[in-house]
């Protein structure tokens, strides 16, 4: 059963003097508990798809369905409890004047869920942070710790779908490894469905079952993991991308 269905999606921004077609006619389906990757270079529209799902970018054509039901605008409380997002830059995605405690307690307050103290401490433990971090401000944390907080925040409402927008590209290699391990573990424990965006084929390969290669707002080629590892691309662009990532191969 397809959990996320994107059908011929187009996103067009009005840039004043001209229209920017960020996404043009992209279709994809993600099954429950699957991890799906969107790969492409800057300007390929991969992040825009995630933002369109969340209502942060306007849908100008096509449809997005979650669990068979079309999305409503505004997205509403039910959507928030099913779908959450982790952003690329952990320095920009946490409010600089809110403590970690406030950041994590906010979704509970919005949805009138009680038991705040226990849930916040538990959320910190779940992402591998010591509860003593609870009353710190974001600038007192490292990049990796901030991204853990951002992941904890996304999981506060216990969603089934996590949208990951380049969650590790702003992090150091060793911190990236820890963060990817954390995401994999959480997915296994909670049966999460991932829709993940990255420019790094190795990261996408490590995390995803199927991938869609995008360029200039269009879908280029869909590959499963075995095809990617074997270098079995059919299109020229996917191959170029693959070759440029050759140093990320297993036997590199």
């Amino acid at each position: 059963m397809a959990l996320i269905e994107i059908d011929n999606l187009s996103v067009t921004f009005d840039a004043g003097d001209r229209y920017v077609h960020a996404v043009q006619g992209v279709s994809l389906t993600v099954h429950a508990r699957e991890s799906f990757g969107l790969v492409g270079e800057s300007g390929s529209g991969k992040s825009t798809i995630l933002r369109a799902i969340c209502g942060l970018a306007p849908i100008s054509g096509g449809a997005i369905r979650i669990d068979g039901k079309p999305l409503q605008t505004p997205r509403g409380f039910d959507f928030a409890r099913r779908v959450q997002m982790v952003f690329q830059d952990p320095y920009a995605s946490l409010h600089p004047r809110h403590t970690i405690d406030r950041t994590l307690a906010e979704p509970l307050a919005i949805h009138r869920i009680g038991d705040t103290d226990r849930r916040v401490v538990q959320a910190l433990r779940d992402v591998g942070l010591d509860p003593s971090f609870r009353f710190r401000y974001p600038h007192q944390l490292s990049g990796g710790q901030r991204q853990r907080v951002a992941i904890a925040r996304a999981l506060m409402l216990e969603p089934e779908i996590l949208l990951l927008d380049e969650p590790t590209s702003a992090l150091d290699a060793s911190v990236q490894a820890e963060t990817l391990n954390l995401l994999s573990r959480l997915r296994a424990e909670r049966g999460l469905t991932f829709l993940m965006v990255s420019h790094d084929l190795a990261v996408i390969d490590h995390m995803c079952d199927r991938i869609l290669v995008m360029q200039h707002g269009r879908a280029v080629e869909e590959l499963d993991r075995d095809q990617l590892a074997a270098g079995a691309m059919k299109t020229g662009y996917a191959r170029t991308l693959f070759n440029a990532s050759a140093d990320r191969m297993l036997d590199g």
């Binding site: 969340c54 209502g55 004047r97 406030r102 906010e106 919005i110 009353f135 710190r136």
Partner: protein
């Protein structure tokens, strides 16, 4: 004391209060390194103390007239700043006048920025026609010369401290709305706003909890820098006889009554003028220092 310091500098605070106080303590440390800001703070504190202890500091009743002692120069026995044309002690009038000044400044500082902040953040956050309407209203208020608009209001409502405050507040808010709106526009597209929108937060919660804290520092800085202007406008209204009514002591009105003797008895107008100058300078210096402490761009360092 040391225990208190360790508590404040604890990298792992145990509660929200401790975290917030710790941040304030760091801000205070930053501020303390700026000597000019500390001078400003001293002046503002001195004004506060002067107003609070006016009955103790004043050597005479500010309203009691004594025509036998009129227009005594500074340094005269019992009147170290001299007396005015009714023989009232100028020092005592300055001391009591600080209460009026503080009252006006305090009321304006509470009302105008709050209103401006609300208009500015709402306007910037929603954009579109809301922004258009609110900003055009702001433009209209901005287009009036401040003192003239205040004059018109006081003329309509009648003279008095409360009406002077109302008039100043009504003319002072547009710049705060502008500042808040500009700040909101940069904050609006931040990822942390997107994140809380995704959690289903309503506009009110986002504006109050997320946008306003980011705009507040710029507005507070702007307020302290404007305080000098507010004191001067209040003094201006007083000078024109539209603010505080005699015989109550108010600095602007004291200058006004002193101008008749400016050439022969210069101190009658000069001393309150110096008081206004000092307090304005104090607020300006404090505002400059606060900019370093509160500016979100420098706070992250």
């Amino acid at each position: 004391m040391t225990a208190m310091m360790t508590w404040l500098r604890d990298p792992n605070p145990q509660s929200r209060t401790q975290a917030r106080l710790g941040q304030m303590w760091l801000g205070w440390l930053r501020m303390r390194r700026n000597p000019l800001a500390m001078i400003g703070l001293m002046i503002v504190l001195a004004l506060l103390l002067m107003a609070a202890w006016a009955p103790l500091l004043a050597t005479h009743d500010p309203l009691t007239q004594n025509l036998s002692q009129r227009l005594l120069p500074p340094g005269s026995a019992g009147h170290w700043l001299g007396t005015d044309e009714f023989g009232r002690d100028i020092w005592s009038r300055i001391v009591y006048g600080s209460r009026v000044t503080l009252y006006i400044v305090g009321l304006v500082a509470l009302t105008a920025p709050a209103f401006g902040l609300l208009i500015g953040t709402v306007s910037g956050y929603f954009g579109g026609w809301v922004d258009q309407v609110l900003m055009r209203i702001t433009d209209i208020f901005l287009a009036f010369p401040r003192l003239i608009l205040a004059l018109a209001l006081v003329a309509a409502l009648g003279p008095g401290v409360e009406n002077a405050v109302l008039a100043i507040a009504l003319t002072a808010w547009p710049p705060y709305a502008r500042v808040a709106r500009a700040e909101t526009l940069t904050v609006r597209s931040a990822d942390y706003i997107a994140a809380v929108q995704l959690q289903g937060a309503g506009s009110g919660r986002i504006i109050w909890g997320y946008v306003m804290p980011m705009c507040l520092p710029s507005v507070i800085i702007r307020v302290t820098l404007d305080m000098a202007g507010v004191i001067l406008t209040a003094a201006g209204l007083g000078f024109l006889g539209l603010g505080v009514q005699p015989p109550m002591a108010e600095w602007g009105q004291m200058i006004s009554s002193g101008r008749k003797f400016l050439f022969d008895q210069w101190w009658v107008a000069t001393v309150p003028g110096l008081a206004i100058f000092t307090v304005s300078l104090g607020f300006n210096l404090l505002g400059d220092g606060l900019r370093d402490v509160l500016d979100p761009r420098s706070a992250s360092r």
